[in-house]
Subunit: 405 residues, 3 copies
Amino acid sequence: MTLAGRDLISINDFSNEEIEAVLNLADEMSSALEKGKRLDLCQGKELYTIFYEPSTRTRSSFETAMHRLGGTVVSHAEAQVTSAVAKGESIADTVRVLERYADVIVMRHPLDGSTRLAAEHSSVPVISGGDGAHEHPTQTLLDLYTIRKEKGAIRGKSVALCGDLRHGRTVHSLVIALARFGAEITCIAPPDFELPDHIRDTLKSYRCKLTEYESLEDIVTEGSLVLHQAKTSSRRGGARLTGPCGQEGFMTFLLKNLDVLYFTRLQRERLSAGEIGDAAEESYRINRQLLEKSRDDALIMHPMPRTGELAYEVDQDKRAAYFRQAGYGVPVRMALIALLLGAVETGVSEGPKRKTPKLAKDVGGVRCLNGRCVTNAERYATAKFCQVNPQLLRCYYCDWMVQVA
Amino acid sequence: MTLAGRDLISINDFSNEEIEAVLNLADEMSSALEKGKRLDLCQGKELYTIFYEPSTRTRSSFETAMHRLGGTVVSHAEAQVTSAVAKGESIADTVRVLERYADVIVMRHPLDGSTRLAAEHSSVPVISGGDGAHEHPTQTLLDLYTIRKEKGAIRGKSVALCGDLRHGRTVHSLVIALARFGAEITCIAPPDFELPDHIRDTLKSYRCKLTEYESLEDIVTEGSLVLHQAKTSSRRGGARLTGPCGQEGFMTFLLKNLDVLYFTRLQRERLSAGEIGDAAEESYRINRQLLEKSRDDALIMHPMPRTGELAYEVDQDKRAAYFRQAGYGVPVRMALIALLLGAVETGVSEGPKRKTPKLAKDVGGVRCLNGRCVTNAERYATAKFCQVNPQLLRCYYCDWMVQVA
Amino acid sequence: MTLAGRDLISINDFSNEEIEAVLNLADEMSSALEKGKRLDLCQGKELYTIFYEPSTRTRSSFETAMHRLGGTVVSHAEAQVTSAVAKGESIADTVRVLERYADVIVMRHPLDGSTRLAAEHSSVPVISGGDGAHEHPTQTLLDLYTIRKEKGAIRGKSVALCGDLRHGRTVHSLVIALARFGAEITCIAPPDFELPDHIRDTLKSYRCKLTEYESLEDIVTEGSLVLHQAKTSSRRGGARLTGPCGQEGFMTFLLKNLDVLYFTRLQRERLSAGEIGDAAEESYRINRQLLEKSRDDALIMHPMPRTGELAYEVDQDKRAAYFRQAGYGVPVRMALIALLLGAVETGVSEGPKRKTPKLAKDVGGVRCLNGRCVTNAERYATAKFCQVNPQLLRCYYCDWMVQVA
């Protein structure tokens, strides 16, 4: 089986076997790096990084990954200012030019679905470095790699996702992958920051175990852990867990069950001032007190950058995995690049091809309801939908759902 | 003959033979790239890109060209912000430092003549990536390469240049080269966007066939092509074509004669709000209807980025050459770099040296009339002129004409 | 002796022997470059440049140095905008991630002491490319290299430092190094732009010869050189020179004694509007008239960029060393990188280790008085001090002094 020529825009673009092929090769890359072995797998190949949003880890680790593979890099670190976009150029035009210079393109863009649009116009592989609030699939690859490496497996592990689960693209890719790999998922998000509906719908199809809570509160001020359950009136699916005996006991019960606590920051750059409740950021926060109640072998993860939700005092704890997690970005991205460029074959036998989503026909005039969807911003882009059921369409670019009569 | 150590600031810095040497080598580079052959002609050499204005294609393709030649690149993608210019540094000082680090420098700058000033202060080759509204000689090299490759020759081809011919530096370099290589030139530009006088004067000296029109109008709204001729009261030289029978017939006649339609956008970044007439952009525009009237073997070219003047529906047509054109940027720039670095000799025998323009003496106190000329912005720069005739001086940096008593 | 794994944040991080080892290796690098010899000492190694302030020379010459050594570079040219810092990331977090990608990090940052904080959090060598108004140690290495190469030695040479000696980090590192290497130092700075107290205190400990003046005035307007002595009421230490016979004779006497005139610009970006006196910049300025009075073998140096203090007419003079000085940045930084990466050993026998400064204990609650000190800006950073004497603490990060009761 080969991944040569493929794009990675959504984590769902890869089958479980394909993801495992990446993680396995990342293990080999990691060993080679440790031994100081030079790899020239991608010599003569050119990687383009085109970032319309700030980045430290993603762009850097892609560029270092390419260098470690013997390849070269052309960098557009602030493409919204330094490229022809400043003169009004479209995503499609940019990509249709750069595909003639690059062997593989990594793009980050503030619009949901933008990187899918880019991939449609490129004959060379496009890797998403994050598209708006939609997905961040390579972060998920390294998150999965971290869990597998440090906890031995993903299946059956109990993973809590805490924070702004609505706008955090990192979480959107990750929660789907966790469901597909059979992890147990707990979501802890303040009101209005829960998982978006389209992600929730996707999760249902995997029949994963999903539990949701609203807050980890009063940790700092009171020194005791109080867990507020999600509003009963919630329209959400997913199970609701009721604790064994009182809030304190309930929290302890929950924490003792968690293999991984994955924190994310409030995505302030995607929120209007009114949307940022004062209390939101305080409702989930990990510090030494929470650590004390957690399992000795728990893994504290964070895609970084952190803001207030992850106290610096946690850094000293051996369970703090987030810097190691960021470090895995290089071997994982080396593996991905090498596979997409066909420099290495996956080594797993040909499985069933991932079905290309079938586009709904005769939906002329239907627009995506997501104001940040690329189809609502780039004039030439045509809205496309997949038919979920006779009443429901899913946007081909950003995965938002549209009800049709 | 060698090009080692030479600068490329104006297309007129190179003789026709030298330009052909670049294009021939570009053909070889192109074949090597297609065969995946590694070229290490410039190994150990360092290219600097110093861009004071946004760029996608030019900077990228130069950097990729250098990588494909085995060399390395240091990039200043937004030099007006990230370099010492932000602390008030002059062009001369920047160059006199960077020439000590670089083996070859590519510079883009918003002032006319700025790259000539840079070249004067550099002991290593300086290539202009565009200087204000003045010239963009490497774009011209790849434009010529495109026409030669796709139409077989330049001589005798009928080329229409449409759009903002006044502020588009791309066109200024190109129109001169087309005249020198014996193409027939048709210019279609809205009022106030015609070729500048100094270009027109240069063209005269090549005795080329130049025809000028004002507009391609009503194409979209009316579905019919109406061609407005340039105002008779115009002060311009150049022939005026009168159509055979009515406007429709005339347009058809014109289009059937054109081998190449070269479109450019309005250079909004060089215009004040008042200068941008609402109608200007609408007066030239290519879409499917215009295509239908054009020759089957016509070439639609555009230096990109496009704005409204080039409809997306044109992209599907095989005559649309603009993405291929952008793609040629890599082999053409590889050839240029390799020649200027002396990594390859031109292979053509020593011809007559291009005459270095003789500077006019005793012009102390005369200033260039071009407000965007580098000599009016950089205090230490001395205005220099070439004597065209006893009454006329040409600015050595930006080519504007000055009448003297 | 090895420098492998070491940081360079302050020039005082290196002993005299270590500095000489860098300069000696720079000589070898310089010869290799001249001979066009390829050096692959750092092949497979990755340098990161992380610049939160503009730079032409420092970033460029580091990147070229790494390329000339066969290594690769990842560049953050405008990290305050393009990195996660734009999302609120701390210096510590940035470094703790990037140390996992890079083999060596070069950082420039506007806060005093910031690069020391970075080095504390990194397991790979951190080189300061300038931290606020504090230090710029690699500029000093190349300044020393310039003096040694062009004047044969540093010891016993008479060096004048002219300009904004308070905010110019370049000068702070240099003046200490000059003192350590036994140069005679003359400082010429307008009122309020004299050397800061903490530098003056450091200099005292080297018992160097330091003379201070206030101005080089009226040079242009009067054609005669008038030297104003520092106010007698000044609180400064250091000797005061009184001239032999009148002002003109005195100035001549002074200039004839100087081997090196080192000029620096007003650091406008570190000054509020009120702090920039109109007269400040005019009080020191080198032009042809001053040159005429200077020694035939004097060296005119400047770290660049220049503003008004260094006239363009000086450039033609053979004593103008500033462009050569900038050029030495490549071999000097090559030497430094190769040594810190352990690609070359220093070749000098193991000397006495530089004493790590002993931190003062029980200073809880004491804050650094420097408003630009990193400990006053990054919340998680703890103020640390070295005990100078029972009443005096020195900030571990920015070297400012704090009196304690």
